[in-house]
Amino acid sequence: MLELIQKVVYQATGKTGVTYDTDFIQDLALNSFDIMNMVCMFEDRYDIEIPARDVWPLKQVRDVIDYLRRRGVVHP
């Protein structure tokens, strides 16, 4: 799952060096557009809808992984 997030972050923002502890705002300095762009990529990849209210509490990469697992997403 970490590799997938690394790929999505790179595709959406060109940023690298993502780990489980990476904070999207503090460490990568992503803005709202970057995050919404990534949300679309996750939605397309897993055919789910991620409500905006679910997005903003997801601070770190590990939060996204936990969230996707709770939504039933299993990355091969």
């Binding site: 959406a12 923002t13 060096g17 709202s32 557009f33 939605e43 397309d44």
Partner: protein
Amino acid sequence: MTGNAQAPLAVYLAAVPCADNGRPLRGTPAAPLPGYHDFLMKAAVRYTGQSAALFETVARSPLGKPFFPHAPHLHFSVSHSGAYWACVFASGSVGLDLQRHTPCDPARLSRRFFHPEETAYLQQRDFQAFFRIWTEKESFVKYLGTGFTRDPESFSVLSPPENVTFFHPPFLDDYDLCVCTRDAGPIVLYPL
């Protein structure tokens, strides 16, 4: 200038040193590079002429809007994208968004996050105005103080529910910069 209804909207812009991987450079503990809070403090001091001590602490409202607890009547909004950071100060509520023209799928993003009226407008223009609409939407929710806790598809900036004006001060060709406010004053850009 605080509280002066005739004051112009003051936009401050700073270049952010970034590494090759796009991350902002932080410097070292002994020689840190200025961060976003440093930019904001510097801009607030220039705008108000008051002591930096007033602006050392930034708090957030329950919906995430930043404010200075020691100068709560100072209206401002901040944004960053690519290699630039920006903020605006005004005499009333104000929202600002800066966005680099990042590679993306504007049709997909519009269908997902924009009001149908906005999407139809963009489709007629081959999505050329995508980032202009995006920055208007984000500056509007910042003006309201809600951020995107307000669903972006629930309103259209082509007919905004508040009596606001969107200003697009000229900036670099590959960026859009938008200020949302009810003030009608001139906008002045200052480098930091």
